[in-house]
């Protein structure tokens, strides 16, 4: 990839929604099983930690442990869902099935294809996050109607994680390379972004490093909205996410163009 590709003006059309629709059509065949599996895992964590660990942790900031961790799982489940999609899913379409190649022989551009996949990733983020939100709602763990805004947050965080996943896909040589993505980037974020415990106890420099990673901002927003602890400080988290999207949206496009258009 050349630097100038990153600054190239994107050639976008409505066609990206057709790519999105194509993915949706394929998803219609498997969505039930897929949702079941995707929400089983967070549910396992939630019950094991919430009830198991929760028996020892009396409360965190006046909340039961279960109440404390539930919103974070909405954020992290959404992250996992979009990340699988924009790595394994997109890479499969790009490298093995050559679906991308077929589509760019039609009037659609590479931008349309990549953005279509990005939208689809964001869709999965909203869907899987909202399913968990519904679950914790039925468990009585949602305290405020502000939670209704959470899907909007999940859309933006979905775009963000799709950009990250597609960037990795643009660079990956084989499927194995995604193991690094998950173990080196996502898992550390999952355990250090305040899903399980407040970050206040961390040393300052650790907190600063964490501030520069994305998931913590999604967790902040999720917890704030679910618990109804809303303030203008949440806007900083939202701005962080949107800023990331604006700055990096061209990166996976440039990488995938370099990979395909040879």
């Amino acid at each position: 990839m050349q630097i100038k590709d990153f600054f190239r003006r994107p050639d976008i059309s409505w066609g990206m929604f057709r790519v999105f629709a194509r993915n949706l059509k394929v998803y219609q065949k498997t969505w039930k099983a897929s949702i079941m599996f995707n929400f089983l895992e967070p549910l396992l964590y939630l019950s094991a930690m919430g009830f198991g660990l929760g028996a020892y942790v009396s409360d965190i900031k006046g909340l039961s442990y279960l109440n404390y961790i539930a919103p974070g799982f909405v954020a992290s489940s959404a992250m996992w869902a979009v990340s699988y999609e924009s790595t394994y899913g997109s890479f499969l379409r790009m490298d093995y099935q050559k679906t991308y190649q077929a589509i760019i022989a039609t009037p659609l551009s590479i931008e349309d294809v990549v953005l279509g996949d990005m939208l689809y990733g964001a869709f999965k983020s909203v869907l899987y996050g909202s399913v968990i939100l519904l679950v914790i709602f039925t468990l009585g763990l949602v305290a405020s109607p502000w939670a209704l805004l959470l899907p909007v947050v999940l859309f933006f965080s979905g775009l963000l994680f799709a950009i990250m996943g597609l960037t990795w896909s643009g660079l990956a040589k084989t499927f194995d390379h995604f193991n690094y993505y998950f173990t080196l980037l996502l898992t550390p974020m999952f355990v250090y972004s305040g899903v399980f415990y407040p970050l206040e106890g961390m040393p300052d420099f650790v907190k600063e490093i964490i501030w520069f990673t994305p998931l913590v901002h999604v967790v902040n927003l999720a917890r704030g909205l679910v618990l109804g602890q809303v303030g203008s400080y949440l806007l900083v988290d939202l701005a962080w996410i949107i800023g990331f999207i604006i700055i990096f949206i061209n990166l996976p496009i440039a990488l995938i163009r370099h990979r395909l258009a040879r």
Partner: protein, 314 residues
């Protein structure tokens, strides 16, 4: 009518490697134009530039009167593309492959439905409409790929090795359909390393090797010009010394491994003369083909890279 494609000094480089080295050609409306050449000749690299997939390194390339570097979307709207690699959508059924593809062209739903029915019919895939693509045979997949490329009623259909890997029956079926399309006025471009395919389908073709065009013209005319009507194959190159005595009867010759190929317009007379002069272990008179043209131009066979290297005789 204007030319469908005009390529001037067209170059494609991958890093330091030059895959297409400054080629010129023109494709006219309603013709079937072929790129014939061995593996690695640069056929795919050339057609990928035509269908706006690969950026052009140098030279100019106009497709349907438009510059590929400036009007890719407008060009692609009017193209049908069958790539060398299978890229059907394995997540979808046969019918869905066509329907979903139609949405990329913005074809209205009802029209797409009708088109899909027609195309499945035309390509004998009606019974398979609801089959998942990965359950199709190779020949069916190829037919589906061509059907899909026609969903937008293209003015130009590009086929990169449409029948490679198919059995003879499946190939003939594809050829039949392509001939019908041509009758309907579609301009065709095809790449192949099958001579019979090139001579059966192409009105005009270029012979490519190592990124260059060695010759172009009508298949019959190329054979007539370079070879003549027939080729007499003699089993042993020991016959080399006969050549001077055959002057007037042959128009050229070529040593291929152990064998000697004699080009001629009067095979029977040549055969009699050779038999008069010498007992040879094997004599075989056959019609001249494009393969002979290729052999003469490159000194190599189309399908035997490396082996069968010949000394260039003139």
């Amino acid at each position: 009518m204007d030319n469908v494609i005009e390529a001037r000094g067209l170059v494609k480089r991958f890093g330091d490697f030059t895959a297409v080295n400054g080629i010129n050609f023109i494709v006219r409306p309603r013709e079937c134009f072929g790129f014939l050449g061995p593996n690695g000749a640069g056929k795919t690299s050339t057609v990928k530039m035509i269908y706006c997939h690969s950026p052009v390194t140098d030279g100019s390339l106009k497709v349907l009167g438009m510059d590929v570097t400036k009007e890719a979307r407008a060009i692609k709207r009017r193209l049908g593309v069958v790539a060398q690699e299978d890229n059907l959508d394995p997540d979808l059924t046969v019918e869905q492959n066509l329907l979903v593809f139609s949405t990329y062209f913005g074809i209205p739903k009802s029209e797409a439905g009708e088109r899909t029915k027609e195309l499945l019919d035309f390509f004998g895939l009606k019974e398979k409409a609801h089959t998942q693509v990965d359950k199709l045979s190779g020949g069916m997949k190829r037919r589906l790929a061509i059907a899909r490329a026609l969903i937008n009623k293209p003015d130009l259909l590009i086929l990169d090795e449409p029948t490679t890997g198919l059995d003879p029956q499946a190939r003939h079926l594809v050829w039949q359909r392509l001939r019908k399309l041509k009758e309907q006025g579609v301009t065709l471009i095809l790449t192949t390393h099958y001579l019979d395919e090139a001579s059966q389908l192409c009105d005009r073709l270029v012979i490519m090797d190592r990124g260059q065009i060695l010759e172009q013209g009508e298949p019959k005319e190329l054979v007539a010009r370079h070879i003549g009507k027939e080729v007499l194959e003699l089993g042993s190159a020991v016959c080399h010394d006969l050549i001077p005595q055959l002057a007037g009867l042959t128009s050229g010759h070529q040593v291929v491994g152990e064998a000697l190929f004699l080009y001629t317009n009067d095979g029977q007379a040549l055969l009699r003369k050779v038999q008069e002069l010498r007992e040879t272990n094997r004599q075989y008179l056959r019609p001249a083909s494009l393969e002979d043209v290729f052999l003469k131009l490159t000194g190599r066979g189309l399908h035997h890279e490396g082996e069968n290297e010949v000394e260039h005789a003139d």
